[in-house]
């Protein structure tokens, strides 16, 4: 199986889980984000950027992931998105800190919630967390729930 097929498979699994659970997962993820960032849950929109809109720092992601693991009883790899995206990439995930074209293509598959314009050539690995929205974490939880079944 080609590795892009593996990434597609992850995408399909996530979409399948979200067909029935999108609403309840979103509700819980929003509550967890609000708790970790100590803000009003009403301020956490589905497409809010955690860093740009909600003032999160990268350290907050670790707290949030731990909170979601506890809530759902699943294990979420700390660098899960990169791990899912990088398997078997011939030219690697990044070169000199800049994502390779193949890596970008995989992120577009794995992160449909991110506008394509933001996943363009020149994106650096340290900029990936700046893209994360509420929906990113909803999809991350859905992925782990799908894998756990």
């Amino acid at each position: 199986m080609s590795d892009t097929a593996q990434v597609q498979q992850i995408r399909h699994k996530v979409d399948d889980v979200l067909k029935t659970r999108h609403e309840d997962l979103t509700k819980t993820v929003r509550a967890c984000i609000a708790d970790v960032l100590a803000i009003d849950p009403g301020k956490v929109g589905a497409n809010s950027s955690l860093i740009a809109d909600l003032g999160a720092e990268s350290l907050d992601f670790l707290d949030l992931v731990f909170r979601l693991e506890t809530e759902y009883g699943v294990k979420i790899p700390r660098d899960g998105i990169r791990l899912a995206a990088q398997d078997g990439l011939a030219d690697g995930f990044e070169k000199g800190g800049v994502l390779t074209p193949d890596a970008l293509e995989r992120l577009r598959i794995l992160m449909p919630e991110i506008p394509a314009a933001k996943l363009q050539a020149g994106l650096r690995t340290h900029q990936i967390p700046e893209l994360f929205t509420t929906e990113t974490f909803v999809r991350l939880v859905a992925w782990r729930l799908a894998e756990a079944n």
């Binding site: 990268s58 350290l59 670790l62 707290d63 731990f66 660098d79 894998e147």
Partner: protein, 257 residues
């Protein structure tokens, strides 16, 4: 031929061995002749490829999923080893689960507790289980630590404290298990090029410092640690007990600069 290998006929369990340092250790122990159980949590494909590499060397191996920071899953992992092999000669305490990172004033109680537990409580419970499976054998227990247990690394307090506790527990285990023929040691590494290290914001800084300042003149690789762990598992290391060996290409000599 294989009877000449130093770990021929011995069985080993390496936690967190689907990738990184754990995988390098698993493969090293296999190269030295041991049968190796590969433990993973999420990376099943990687774990299976480690098993395939071991079986292609003629070793017995299997992959076992368990989040070892959960006591019930840890117990199931040792149950599996017991049912597969009936005994254990080598236990490598490698996996940790980091849920807490950052300046001390920002750390929250629950992720902190989880991180400390995943270091030292896991090591304690695993060593208890391992020691029972090592009865009447020359058992070896080795834990992994890092320089953050002794030195300041920004944001690293939960992990550094967890590692320091592992090093202290190593000495107590060595004393209390030594009379049963079990040797317990810890290997403490400097920066090692793995996915985990790349996730640190200070990765590039550590890599540059390793290349420019340390006598080793490069960042460490998983095999640099695995080779030492492999040696500590052999009978040639029989007189090393309760120690924390620093294996860092000399990084700790200059990391304060």
């Amino acid at each position: 031929m294989s009877t000449a290998l130093p770990l021929h006929g011995r069985t080993a369990l390496v936690t967190g061995s689907s990738r990184g340092i754990g995988r390098a250790i698993a493969l090293k122990l296999g190269a030295l002749g041991a049968d190796v159980a590969v433990n993973y949590v999420t990376r099943e494909t990687d774990a299976n490829s480690a098993v395939a590499a071991l079986t292609s060397q003629g070793r017995r191996s299997f992959a076992a999923r368990a989040n070892v920071s959960k006591p019930d899953e840890l117990a199931s992992l040792f149950d599996r080893v017991a049912s597969e092999w009936g005994a254990l000669d080598i236990y490598i305490n490698n996996a940790i689960d980091v849920a807490s990172f950052g300046p001390v004033m920002r750390l929250r109680a629950e992720p902190w507790r989880h991180t400390i537990d995943s270091h030292v409580t896991t090591f304690l419970l695993a060593s208890q289980r391992a020691a029972k499976l090592m009865k009447d054998r020359k058992g070896v227990i080795i834990a992994l630590s890092s320089l953050g247990s002794q030195n300041y690394v920004p944001g690293y307090a939960p992990i550094g404290v967890g590692k320091a506790a592992i090093e202290a527990l190593t000495r107590y285990l060595a004393m209390e298990l030594g009379h049963s023929g079990i040797r317990v040691n810890t290997v403490s590494g400097g920066p090692i090029e793995t996915d985990s290290l790349r996730a640190f914001s200070t990765y590039q800084q550590m890599k540059d410092a390793s290349e420019k300042l340390s006598p080793g003149r490069r960042i460490g690789q998983p095999d640099d640690i695995a080779d030492v762990v492999g040696f500590l598992c052999t009978d040639e290391a029989r007189w090393i007990m309760g120690q924390t060996l620093i294996v860092d290409g000399g990084f700790s000599l200059v990391s304060g600069h």
